[in-house]
């Protein structure tokens, strides 16, 4: 499978990465090189094989459903580029 220029733009938008017109052709070549490389996986017989979902066989641990953390909003927003009263600020999303 290979991607065309329009698909490159669509993927970039899905990934929320702005790409200029000049960036599209080299990206298209690079993505197609990678896709050509992974193409060989199509020749492997995977019938009846379960996909890996856990690297080491282990049961997920659970803990008591209790509040164990929190109460430091100022530290949470400390690294944010733009905040007000311990809230993150973003461009207006609702008209």
């Amino acid at each position: 499978m290979s991607v065309d220029a329009q698909t490159v733009r669509r993927i970039a938008h899905l990934a929320r990465i702005a790409v200029s017109d000049a960036e599209v052709p080299p990206l298209q070549d690079e993505l197609n090189a990678i896709l050509a490389f992974v193409e060989q996986l199509g020749t492997v017989d995977v019938s009846g094989v379960e996909p890996m979902t856990s690297v080491t066989p282990m049961a997920m641990k659970s803990r008591e459903d209790a509040v164990t953390d929190g109460g430091y909003a100022r530290e949470i927003v400390f690294n944010a580029p733009l905040t007000e009263d311990n809230y993150f600020l973003v461009p207006k999303v609702v008209e």
Binding site: M1, V3, T7, V8, I11, A12, H13, L14, A15, R16, I17, A18, V19, L27, D29, E30, L31, A33, I34, L35, F37, V38, E39, Q40, L41, G42, V44, V46, V49, E50, P51, M52, T53, V55, T56, M58, M60, K61, R63, E75, V77, F78, N79, A80, P81, L82, F88, V90, P91, K92, V93
Partner: protein, 495 residues
């Protein structure tokens, strides 16, 4: 002892010297601070923390005076800049995290400070640990302390833990933390004549380590000897309730295991690792390694891991898929870079376009594509099925009585900075062809220096173990180190 000599010690020697009061923690910290300041040409450290190092050394000296030395008391270490460190900038080698100062400490680095280690600073790496040469760092490549015989051309230290490997080889710390998603500890260790171990998935907590591919990422040490790696891993490892994939198993005495020998063990040589175009000197080194283990009392047998060739392509689906999801958090809202735009989607897109480098964009886009509607089953689910087959190959070999597997660590010695710039991305990815299977199967793997190539550059061998059997890797690694002799590290031309 002159202060220069203090940076030449192994971690084990420094520990014993501190306890025997042959020198102070302050002296060995200062010796390293000076060495780091004189090595800026290597670009190994992104942040130097000399004041913190001296303050920690002062505490260490007080502990030693009272006879209360902790396991790593007073030992100066470097930290890969993928580990979040409290109030010390953490960039992951990316512009998008420029200026980020975490208000928390990663569990692994916390464990090192708990055990008395001293922090020298943060080490350069490929951006978000995506690379095999340290050339994708937004803060410039790391220059290897190694050079080819009769040449001054700068070489790569490998990646992504290139700063860690270069700093350890150049005596800019006694040991360094590193992380390995597809070979990022073992490949740079092999390129720089150092020892690097990626423990079993779950052995170290991933909490507070900037995530790349969560089902593959593991932390481990890079050091100058096998024993040093055992000492450092013992402090880094352990169960952490904050990472549900960290295992609740006791941490064995790794240092004791390093002296255990290999008598009676069975070592497998996988025939599928004899790849086309592999240099004859790598093949020779591999046979030499097998001979050393045999001479030390191990039985060496040929084994088969039939799905080996599919590990790298499957990795280049699984790792980018997980990365595209993990890196969604860099959105200009909560930390790091923000590029203003007229609406929120524009702000996301401009921020990520300006903040991510080429390799990161490429991988996030591949990941986005293979997870997108219509392609998920064909790519991602198929790759995860192949991962099951890769793991099954190893399980079969181990069930047949093999204790560890010996392979080359890399298909070549280090290459020059910029040498692979115009190659397509896949050529760079091939660096990890011998290491990536280990991450796909969640197994432990260690790279140990085993010799030099015709140009005088180090070459390493890899040992792959059973899940949670790092002890056998330290035992067999020590046998190789003893037989090969310690690598003579390059003299300090960078000063």
């Amino acid at each position: 002892m002159s202060t220069n000599d203090l940076t030449e010690l192994t971690l084990a020697e420094a520990r014993d010297g501190l306890r025997g009061k042959a020198f102070s923690a302050r002296e060995i910290a200062q010796a390293h601070i000076d060495a780091v300041a004189q090595a800026r040409a290597l670009n190994a450290y992104l942040v130097e923390t000399p004041e913190r190092a001296l303050a920690m050394a002062e505490v260490a000296d007080a502990k030693i005076a009272k006879g209360e030395a902790r396991p790593l008391e007073g030992l100066p270490l470097g930290i890969k800049d993928l580990f979040c460190t409290h109030d010390v900038p953490t960039t992951a080698g990316s512009r998008i995290l420029e200026g980020f100062r975490p208000h928390y400490e990663s569990t692994v680095s916390h464990n090192l400070w708990r055990d008395g280690a001293v922090m020298l600073g943060k080490l350069n790496l490929d951006e978000f640990a995506m690379g095999s040469s340290n050339e994708t760092s937004a803060y410039g490549p790391v220059v290897s302390p190694w050079r080819r015989r009769d040449s001054e051309a700068p070489l790569v230290p490998g990646g992504s833990s290139g700063g860690s490997a270069a700093a350890v080889a150049a005596r800019l710390c006694l040991g360094a933390t590193a992380t390995d998603t597809g070979g990022s500890i073992r490949q740079p260790a092999a390129f720089t004549g150092t020892v690097g171990i990626k423990p079993t998935y779950g052995r170290c907590s991933r909490w507070g380590i900037v995530a790349f591919a969560s089902s593959l990422d593991q932390a481990g040490p890079i050091t100058r000897t096998v024993r040093d790696a055992a000492i450092m891993l013992a402090s880094m490892a352990g169960h952490d309730p904050k990472d549900t994939t960290s295992v609740d198993l006791p941490v064995p005495d790794f240092e004791a295991a390093a002296g255990r020998g290999v008598r009676g063990l069975t070592i497998g040589l996988p025939k599928e690792y004899r790849v086309d175009g592999m240099p004859a000197e790598i093949e020779r080194l591999w046979q030499q390694g097998a001979e050393w283990l045999r001479a030390a009392g191990a039985r060496v047998v040929e084994v088969s891991l039939p799905h080996t060739r599919y590990a790298l392509p499957a990795y280049y689906i699984v790792a980018p898929a997980e990365a595209s999801s993990n890196l969604a958090r860099y959105d200009g809202v909560r930390y790091g870079l923000r590029v203003p735009a007229k609406d929120i989607v524009g702000m996301y897109e401009q921020t990520r376009a300006a903040g991510f480098g080429r390799e990161v964009k490429r991988r996030v886009m591949i990941g986005t594509y293979v997870l997108s509607a219509g392609y998920y089953d064909a790519y991602y689910v198929r790759a995860q099925k192949i991962r099951t087959l890769i793991k099954r190959d190893f399980e079969t070999v181990y069930a047949n009585g093999v204790d560890a597997i010996l392979t080359p660590a890399t298909p070549s010695a280090a290459f020059g900075i910029g040498e692979k710039q115009n190659a397509d991305p896949v050529e760079m990815y091939l660096n990890d062809v011998f290491t990536v299977t280990v991450n796909m199967a969640g197994l432990p793997g260690i790279a140990v220096p085993a010799g030099l190539d015709a140009q005088g550059l180090p070459l390493g061998l890899q040992l792959i173990g059973r899940p949670f059997d790092e002890e056998t890797l330290f035992a067999a690694g020590q046998v190789i180190e003893d037989a090969a002799g310690r690598v003579a590290l390059p003299r300090a031309w960078w000063r």
